[in-house]
C-alpha cells in the first residue's frame, strides 16, 4: 500500500500542504438480526475505501474513493487539494495547524481470541433464535428481538510526518430485548452489557440465552409495577446506567471541538470554556473520571487515532475538578495546547475524522469493601436504577433527563418494590457534585457504546464507559407527565 500512500502524500506536499495523510480502511462486517422467531437479516459486508486529507494554507481539503489504482489515488489527492483551496475562500481567523507529533511506524492487532468470521453463521442465527424464543415463551411477552454484529476494521494511516500505521481491531456487539404487554401497558427490558473490542468469545461470555428468561420476566414485572414517584430523592445508579449519564454529561461537554463552537449547527456546543480547565468543580471530591484509549477491550482503543497520535490514558476529572479535555491535533493548538489527547477518529474512509469521546470511565470508590447494598442502606427514600433507558440533554450539555431499564424503590435503606417510567432531571455539575458514595473496584463494570452520533454528515462512533455503583443525593425525580 505504501506506493499509493507515498503518491498521495507527494501530491499534497507538491501542492504546498503543511500536513497531509492518507487513510485506507478495509472493513468486514457480519450481522445476524432476529425478530420474534424470524431471521430478518443475515449478511456479510465488505467495504474498502480510502481518503486523502490535506491542510493547505491553514484550510482543509478531503476526498475519498473506493478504487485503488495509481490514477485514482492521484485524482483523489488532487481533489483534496482542490477542496482545500475552496475552503480557503472562507478562512479561519487563525489558520488551522496541527499540534506536533512524532512519526510512528507500527503494526498493531486488537484483542480477538475467537475469530467471529470463522464461527458458522448458522450457529449465530441459532443462538439469537433460541434467545428470542426463550423470551417469547414467557407469558405476556409479545415481541423479542436481537442482533449480533461483528466488525473487523483494518486501517492503514500514512501521514506527512512520516508515520505509517497498520492497525486492526475487532468489535463484537450483541443486543437482545423483550417487550411485554399486560392490559394497556407495554414495557421492555434489554441486555445492557454493550459491545466490546473482542472476538466471538465475548458473545459466549454474555450468555444471551441464559439470561433471556430473566430479562423477559423483568419486562413483565415492569408492566405491573407502580409508576415513578414524584419528588426530590436519592438515587443509586448501576454501572450500565451511569455509562450513558457520563457519556452525555461528561464525555460530550469535554470535547474541545464543541467547546470551540464547531458543532453548533447540529450536535451543539458545551457549557465548558477552555479557561475552566483546572478550575471547574465538575463533581464532588470523590468523583474521578479517566479517559483511557488504551483500555483493554475498550471500543475506543484504536492504538493510534486518525491524526496518527499514539493513544494514552489521562485524567479528565480529578477529585471533582476538571483537569483536561478530549482534543485533536487541530483543536489543541487553538487553545494554546501543544499536545493532542488522541481523540480524533472517523467512522469510515468516507468521513473526515473529528473530535470524539474517548473511552471514559468513572473510577471506583477508594474503599473496595463498599458494596452496592451499603449505598442503598444509606438511602431513606430513593430509587435504584439499572441500565439505560430514556436520555435527553440540552445542546450545551446542562439540563438532562434520564430514565433507565429497571427501577426499584428504596425505602428505609432497602429495595422494596419495582417501579416503571422513572425519570430524573438535573443540571450537569449539580448532579455530579451531589455524588456522595461509590462502591469499590470489585463492582466496577464497563459498557461499550456502538452508536454515538455526532457530526454532519452524521458519523457513528464507538467508545467504552465504566463505573461502579454510585449514589447521588437530592435529585429531582418524576418530572415527566405520566
Amino acid at each position: 500500500m505504501k506506493e499509493y500512500t507515498d503518491l498521495a502524500l507527494d501530491i499534497a506536499r507538491g501542492a504546498g500542504a503543511s500536513f497531509a495523510d492518507m487513510r485506507i480502511v478495509d472493513e468486514r462486517q457480519n450481522r445476524v438480526y432476529v425478530q420474534r422467531r424470524s431471521l430478518k437479516l443475515i449478511d456479510e459486508t465488505e467495504s474498502f475505501g480510502y481518503c486523502v486529507r490535506v491542510l493547505l494554507n491553514g484550510a482543509w481539503g478531503f476526498a475519498s474513493n473506493t478504487k485503488l489504482t495509481k490514477e485514482e489515488v492521484a485524482k483523489t489527492a488532487q481533489l483534496a487539494v482542490a477542496t482545500a483551496k475552496a475552503s480557503a475562500g472562507v478562512p479561519k481567523d487563525e489558520p488551522a495547524r496541527m499540534a506536533p507529533e512524532d512519526a510512528y511506524i507500527d503494526t498493531c492487532v486488537g484483542p480477538c481470541e475467537e475469530d467471529p468470521f470463522a464461527v458458522p453463521n448458522s450457529e449465530k442465527a441459532e443462538l439469537m433464535l433460541t434467545a428470542c424464543d426463550t423470551m417469547l415463551n414467557v407469558p405476556n411477552i409479545v415481541m423479542s428481538w436481537g442482533f449480533l454484529q461483528f466488525i473487523r476494521m483494518h486501517r492503514i494511516i500514512a501521514n506527512s510526518d512520516g508515520s505509517y500505521l497498520d492497525l486492526t481491531n475487532y468489535f463484537a456487539n450483541p443486543m437482545l430485548q423483550a417487550i411485554a404487554v399486560v392490559g394497556n401497558e407495554s414495557q421492555d427490558r434489554s441486555y445492557q452489557g454493550g459491545a466490546k473490542q473482542a472476538g466471538y468469545e465475548f458473545i459466549r461470555e454474555v450468555d444471551l440465552v441464559g439470561n433471556a428468561r430473566k430479562w423477559a420476566e423483568e419486562a413483565v414485572i415492569k408492566c405491573k409495577a407502580e409508576d415513578c414517584p414524584v419528588g426530590t430523592m436519592d438515587l443509586v445508579l448501576d454501572p450500565m446506567h451511569l455509562s450513558l449519564t457520563m457519556h452525555e454529561s461528561v464525555g460530550h461537554p469535554t470535547e474541545l471541538d464543541r467547546i470551540l463552537g464547531w458543532e453548533a449547527n447540529m450536535a451543539g456546543r458545551s457549557f465548558i470554556k477552555p479557561e475552566m480547565v483546572g478550575e471547574l468543580q465538575y463533581g464532588s471530591e470523590i468523583v474521578n473520571f479517566t479517559a483511557n484509549n488504551v483500555l483493554e477491550g475498550g471500543l475506543g482503543s484504536w492504538f493510534y487515532d486518525d491524526d496518527g497520535v499514539r493513544m494514552f490514558s489521562f485524567p479528565m476529572v480529578k477529585n471533582g475538578k476538571l483537569v483536561n479535555l478530549g482534543c485533536t491535533r487541530e483543536t489543541a493548538p487553538v487553545i494554546g495546547w501543544e499536545k493532542s489527547t488522541a481523540c480524533c477518529r472517523s467512522d469510515g474512509f468516507e468521513h473526515f475524522p473529528i473530535n470524539r469521546i474517548p473511552n471514559l470511565y468513572m473510577e471506583p470508590g477508594e474503599d473496595d469493601s463498599v458494596t452496592p447494598d451499603d449505598l442503598i442502606a444509606g438511602v431513606d427514600k430513593g430509587i435504584y436504577i439499572e441500565g439505560m433507558g430514556s436520555f435527553s440533554i440540552d445542546q450545551m450539555r446542562n439540563n438532562f433527563q434520564f430514565g433507565g431499564d429497571m427501577f426499584w424503590m428504596i425505602e428505609g435503606g432497602k429495595k422494596t418494590k419495582p417501579l416503571k417510567k422513572v425519570t430524573y432531571q438535573a443540571q450537569t455539575t449539580q448532579f455530579w457534585n451531589s455524588c456522595d458514595g461509590i462502591a469499590g473496584r470489585p463492582y466496577w463494570q464497563t459498557h461499550g457504546v456502538m452508536n454515538c452520533g455526532k457530526g454532519e454528515p452524521m458519523q457513528v462512533m464507538r467508545m467504552t464507559h465504566g463505573a461502579s455503583f454510585t449514589r447521588f443525593r437530592n435529585i429531582s425525580v418524576g418530572g415527566a407527565k405520566l
Binding site: F62, T83, S87, F391, Q395, Q401, L482
Partner: protein, 431 residues
C-alpha cells in the same frame, strides 16, 4: 455515474450467475460534496463517491445476503458465493417473502437535476461566504453544513423485476449564534432552483437577533406555536410508531386505535407521491411501486403501515413507504398564528427528543435556537430554553390553528401548528 442501461446489464449479469432459486440484487451509488463551517470559517470540506451491491438469495425460506463496494468480477463472484453459502446454512424463516414479480411504476415528478451534479466546492464555498458575511454584520458566529449529493438506487430480482431511481439533493443549514441566543434555518431541494440561501440567511439572522438576552420563564402548560421545523422534529418519532404489526401486538400508542379519532379535525396525514416540491421515490420495500396513502383523515386514524409479511397475514395491500409524509394545514401564515395567540410560546426547533414512555408515545426534549414569549398576538421577548415532556398525540389533539404546510428537510411537508396545554417540565441556562 453509470447509466440506467449499464446498471440493468450489471444487475442482470449478477442474477445470471446466481444458482439459488430466488435472488434480489440492489445497486446503490452516491456522490457528495459536503462542506461544514463553524465559527465563521470552513472547518471541513469533503468530497467522495461510492458504489455498492447488495445481493439476497433464498433456497425456499432459507435466505442470506452479502454486500460489497468492490464491483470487479472477482469481488462479485465472492459476493454471490458468500450470499449463497449463508443462505444454504440458514434456518428456515417463517416470515420470508419471495421476490415480487415485475411491477408498473407511477410517473413521479423529477428528482434528479444536472445543476446539482455541476456544483463545485468553490460554488458551495461562495454560498457559505454569504452566510458568514451576514453573520459578521451582527457580530454573530455562523456554523452549518452545505451538502450537494446525487445518486442512484436500483433493484432487480430473479422474477424479472427492475426498479430504478435517480435523484439529487441539496441540504443546506445554518445556525447563527450570538453570546446570548441563536437562530437556525435550512433549505432543501432536489435542484439548485429550489433552495434560496438568501432566504435562509434572513431567517437565521432574524431569529438570532431576536433571540438575544432571553428572560427566565417558568415551566408549565402553555399554548405553543411550533414552526414547521419543530413540527417535523416531533413528527419523526410519531412516524416511527406507525407499524401495523406493532400496534396489533399492543406495543404502540396506536394499538386498537384504527378508526378512532385521536387528533383534532384539522389533522390529515398522508404520503403523497406527486408533489413537485417534494417528490417521492418511485419504489419502496422490495420494489413495490409507491402510492398515495392516507394515514389519518380529519383526526381519525385511517391506516397503519403494513410491511409485505404483515399485509399478507392481514389480507391487505402492503404499504411501500411512509415518506415523504405530508400534514394538512390552513390558509394562514405563521404571523397569522402569532396574531391569534393571546399568550403562548413560539418554538423554532426541538432537540434531543427521546421516549419517556414508548407505549404512550410520551416524549421529552428541549427547545433550541429561538424560543419566544407571545402576548396579545405579538412576540414580546425571547425566553430561556425549556425541557418538554409531552406526547405528539396530545399535541395534535389540542390543535388550535395551522399554517400553510411547507417542505422541511428531505422527507416532510408540514405546517406550523398552534396547540394548547403543551407541558414544559424544567428549565436550563443554556442558550
Amino acid at each position: 455515474m453509470r447509466t440506467k442501461e449499464e446498471i440493468k446489464t450489471l444487475l442482470d449479469s449478477i442474477l445470471s450467475k446466481v444458482s439459488a432459486p430466488e435472488a434480489t440484487v440492489s445497486f446503490n451509488y452516491g456522490s457528495s460534496l459536503a462542506t461544514r463551517f463553524g465559527e465563521n470559517a470552513i472547518t471541513q470540506n469533503m468530497s467522495g463517491e461510492e458504489e455498492s451491491i447488495r445481493l439476497e438469495v433464498a433456497y425456499g425460506t432459507k435466505h442470506g445476503s452479502s454486500i460489497t463496494n468492490k464491483l470487479d468480477e472477482e469481488s462479485i463472484s465472492k459476493l454471490i458465493a458468500h450470499a449463497e453459502d449463508i443462505a444454504q446454512n440458514s434456518p428456515e424463516d417463517p416470515e420470508y417473502m419471495p421476490p415480487l414479480p415485475p411491477q408498473e411504476y407511477p410517473d413521479i415528478p423529477q428528482r434528479f437535476y444536472e445543476d446539482v451534479v455541476a456544483l463545485t466546492p468553490e460554488d458551495i464555498a461562495e454560498q457559505i461566504r454569504k452566510v458568514v458575511d451576514a453573520a459578521r454584520t451582527g457580530n454573530f458566529k455562523a456554523s452549518g453544513l452545505f451538502e450537494a449529493s446525487y445518486g442512484i438506487n436500483a433493484l432487480a430480482n430473479s422474477e424479472g423485476l427492475f426498479a430504478f431511481d435517480k435523484f439529487s439533493g441539496l441540504d443546506y443549514s445554518t445556525t447563527i449564534h450570538g453570546p446570548k441566543g441563536s437562530g437556525f434555518a435550512s433549505e432543501n431541494g432536489e435542484s439548485v432552483a429550489q433552495v434560496d440561501v438568501d432566504r435562509m440567511i434572513r431567517k437565521a439572522m432574524t431569529t438570532a437577533t431576536a433571540a438575544q438576552n432571553p428572560k427566565d420563564i417558568e415551566p408549565g402548560d402553555y399554548t405553543v406555536i411550533f414552526e414547521p421545523q419543530a413540527t417535523l422534529d416531533i413528527l419523526e418519532f410519531f412516524a416511527w410508531n406507525m407499524s401495523a404489526r406493532d400496534a396489533d401486538e399492543g406495543t404502540t400508542v396506536f394499538a386498537g386505535k384504527v378508526g378512532e379519532k385521536l387528533y383534532h379535525d384539522k389533522v390529515t396525514i398522508t404520503t403523497e407521491i406527486d408533489d413537485p416540491e417534494l417528490p417521492a421515490p418511485p419504489f419502496g420495500e422490495d420494489g413495490l411501486p409507491v402510492r398515495r396513502t392516507v394515514w389519518a383523515k380529519d383526526g381519525v386514524i385511517e391506516r397503519l403501515r403494513h410491511n409485505r409479511f404483515w399485509a399478507k397475514q392481514k389480507n391487505t395491500e402492503p404499504d411501500p413507504l411512509l415518506y415523504p409524509i405530508f400534514m394538512s394545514g390552513e390558509d394562514k401564515s405563521i404571523d397569522d398564528l402569532i396574531a391569534g395567540c393571546e399568550k403562548g410560546l413560539l418554538v423554532k426547533r426541538l432537540w434531543y427528543i427521546r421516549y419517556v414512555d414508548r407505549k404512550e408515545l410520551l416524549l421529552t426534549g428541549m427547545t433550541r435556537d429561538g424560543f419566544f414569549l407571545i402576548e396579545n398576538g405579538k412576540i414580546v421577548t425571547p425566553v430561556k430554553n425549556l425541557r418538554f415532556n409531552e406526547s405528539p398525540i396530545v399535541f395534535l389533539k389540542n390543535v388550535v390553528a395551522m399554517s400553510r404546510p411547507e417542505r422541511v428537510g428531505g422527507w416532510a411537508k408540514v405546517p406550523a401548528i398552534m396547540s394548547e396545554n403543551f407541558t414544559f417540565s424544567s428549565k436550563t441556562e443554556s442558550v
